[in-house]
């Protein structure tokens, strides 16, 4: 990942986490490596050089992959709208770039249990 991309990924992560309704950020890109079930905590070893946000250069341009956990009360649909808006600002206004944004909700925080944090 270039330093430019690293910076972009970092800013996207900050913006995403700041959104109301976002309970957690997970490693994007592979559904299979991210699942939690209702009782388990996320177990992850955070390597700062390996961001959770995934950036991919496709023939059509840059694609940003984001995997989030959502607070039950906030609603996944609303939260995705907010995240998308915030991330678009980061990409286009902060970094002057264009990208396709892909957001997947992988976990819903049951309010009676502790959520996972990545």
């Amino acid at each position: 990942m270039t330093s430019q991309e690293s910076a972009l990924a970092a800013d996207i992560e900050i913006a995403t986490r700041a959104m109301p309704g976002v309970a957690a950020l997970f490693r994007a890109g592979s559904l299979a490596s991210n699942v939690l079930d209702a009782g388990a905590r996320a177990i992850g070893i955070r390597d700062d050089s390996d961001p959770l946000i995934r950036l991919e250069q496709t023939p059509e341009g840059l694609r940003v992959d984001i995997a989030i956990g959502v607070q039950d009360h906030a609603g996944a649909v609303e939260t995705i709208r907010r995240v998308q808006a915030a991330v678009r600002v980061v990409i286009e206004e902060q970094h002057g770039a264009r990208a396709e944004i892909r957001i997947t909700v992988v976990h819903i925080n049951d309010t009676t249990t502790q959520g996972g944090e990545a």
């Binding site: 559904l31 299979a32 490596s33 991210n34 699942v35 939690l36 079930d37 209702a38 388990a40 959502v70 039950d72 609603g75 996944a76 649909v77 609303e78 995705i80 709208r81 995240v83 998308q84 991330v87 396709e100 944004i101 892909r102 957001i103 997947t104 909700v105 992988v106 976990h107 819903i108 049951d110 309010t111 009676t112």
Partner: protein, 204 residues
Amino acid sequence: MNTHDTPDPLRMEPDDLDGHTIEELSDYLDSGRSPADPSIDESAGCQIALDALERLRVLTPELIAADTAAESEADEGWVQSILAGITLDARAGRRIPIVIDPPGPDAGITEGAVREVIRAAENTVSGVLIGRCRFDGDVTVPGEPVLIRVDVSVPYGQPIPGLVDRLRTEINMRLSAHTTLNVTGIDITVSDLRHPSSRTGEER
């Protein structure tokens, strides 16, 4: 000691069983003694052997129960050692698209997350436990009609239709908040009526 002059059915050789073999008698017993075979039914030796086989058959469930009772219960360490061996992935399931008006993102939610959504509905309907959730219909196609099927356990003594209605309403609400699935129905099957569990002194 036995002499071999007198047939002894419990030696279970064909000589003792009027020409029949123990295999035949086993099969005869397994098939519920039908179709009736007079050569067996009229043989005293066979009847004695069949009775012994029957006694053995009756003992078997008692053996299973005794064996099981003799084993120790699973302790927490045992449960943990198994959980350590399972992988939590592959329960995510398919990615279900969330339709957001353009210029919306490519948005989606995993089947696993939607199941969590549905299961969390039990928190608002006291005592209800949700089992398996199934989606009938291709959830990966936006707008495709989907029927939700849910197994449910309810506490004994509460009127079921009321609980089921409340649960259905709750599930509906949650699905609207978390998905854009075109839900055509929510099929709730009550598969378990639980008796109130006895309280223990220990708090969690």
